[in-house]
Amino acid sequence: MIQLIASLLLRAAVVLTGAALATFALLWHAPGDPALAIAIARYQAVVPAEVVDQVRTEAGLDAHFWTAFQAWVGPLLVGDFGQSSVTGRNVWPELVTMISYTLPLALAGLIIGLLTSVPLAYVATRRPGGWLDRCAVALASIGAAIPAYWLGLLLILLFAVQLGWLPAMGTRTPAHIILPALTLGLGVAASLTRILRSGILEARGQPFLPAFRRRGVANRDIERDHVAPHAAIPVVTVFGLELAFLLEGVVMVEVIFARPGLGSFLVSAIEARDFPKVQAVVVLTAVLFVTVNLLIDLIYRALDPRIGERDA
């Protein structure tokens, strides 16, 4: 067990190092002059060349790649995300504020996704191939095909503009979270429904189930104790991917609904070429990913210990 966790942690460390290095290299070698972008963002005006050079020196952009990378990673290892190139303020407190906006939205989206997909998949699989099942599959396919930004705009048009039921922009009241959460949640629901549906159908086809029925085990108990765990395995497997979908969705949704949060934070930081902020978001995302995947690995082994046995 200790060996297993150690190997998983080692894998996580490799992924994190790779993510940090790749982000830094991509930003460093991106075309255009970052110093100019930072200077414009800082002074909100066209700036003379000597000011741009000054910014370049201040932001450490004239250094060698590896020197700059070390200057960034060194403090990061002890939890220091550095200062914004534009404002000079520490990145971490701002990041925490943004997380406090994004986390509830992401969770609300996830909960809506689960609350929609689980009953939908269950109802659909009661009679596979029936009209309910076909409707569910059609809905899920359409839902998966609609990009978040378009769905968000449609929801704004319908509920905010036409009907005037819900607010669309900003975060003033709790009601402001409904439309963005719905935009996120419906996307999650679409992909989860398809996975759950096929998972349940596959689980119902397990060769041992008829014997359980002949043994007199009630159908309700078979569904709960044997079908559900087998159907959960593919869902747990794709949960990591689902998280990627969720993060991507959050960035779009926050921009569409003019909400503060990690998404809008990232977009404005990229526009200003504010490297420390961009890198902070990317590292944070990478850590989140690696942690979730680590947990999934462990849950997976708890659900189906055969996986661990095969590795050994």
Partner: protein, 227 residues
């Protein structure tokens, strides 16, 4: 009470797999159901189980392979509890110990999942589980074809010993006449979804009547087999 089921039949996608069939089995009787693959043996077994269950009789089933009887994600202990619960029995450690002792699987780790046990042990566990409620009839569908012949013979011996002083009747479904001949006192032969011959074992072996029975006897040097 004699076990009786009449008019058992099965039709799958327009094809009759099992023509209307009546089955009578006396308490404690050992009956073999033999026939070639696809003759409808398993279908008759399933139809019989479903009918008897519907009639409120206690009937237990042992499928061909433990893979068809056990959920790989659940522990052996879970399976046992579930089987007791399905029969509305309260958990009884003594009953479990007796059955485990009878089938020589005592001392095994019940917290393991099926694949943590050998297949022979799994199959004996399934048989033990089938005997929990002391059923009127135990239907075994090719119970030993997933085991090697030595383990299979051992398992059948243990079951014979356990059933010898009980009223539980046995229906042994197999294509292996050698296995059936040693274990049962009456043989039924199936062909194309019908029971074509039904006779005491000795009479059957000495003077098979139908072509299906004759070919079964001819194809098996049944006395040479260990089980």
């Amino acid at each position: 009470m004699t076990i009786t089921a009449t008019g058992l039949c099965a039709i799958r996608s327009g094809r009759t797999i099992l023509h209307p069939t009546n089955v009578d089995i006396r308490p404690g009787e050992r009956v073999g159901l033999v026939g070639a693959s696809g003759s409808g043996k398993s279908t008759l077994g399933h139809a019989l189980i479903d009918r008897l269950r519907a009639q409120g009789q206690r009937v237990a089933h042992v499928p061909q392979s433990p893979d068809e009887a056990l959920d790989p994600l659940r522990s052996m202990a879970f399976h046992w509890r579930e089987a007791e619960h399905a029969l509305n029995l309260s958990p009884d450690p003594t009953r479990r110990q007796d059955l485990f002792a009878a089938l020589h699987i005592e001392g095994s780790d019940l917290n393991k999942r099926p694949w943590g046990w050998s297949r022979g042990m799994q199959q004996r566990f399934v048989i033990a589980m089938a005997l929990i409620g002391t059923p009127d009839l135990l239907v075994m569908d090719e119970p030993t074809s997933a085991l090697d012949s030595v383990v299979a013979a051992g398992t059948m011996d243990l079951l014979d010993a356990y059933l010898s002083d009980r009223k539980t009747a046995l229906l042994l479904i197999t294509h292996d006449l050698g296995l059936a001949a040693r274990r049962v006192n009456r043989l039924m032969v199936m062909e194309d979804g019908r029971i074509v011959e039904d006779a005491p074992t000795e009479q059957f072996l000495l003077a098979p009547v139908t072509q299906a029975a004759k070919s079964l006897c001819a194809h098996r040097n049944w006395l040479e087999l260990p089980c």
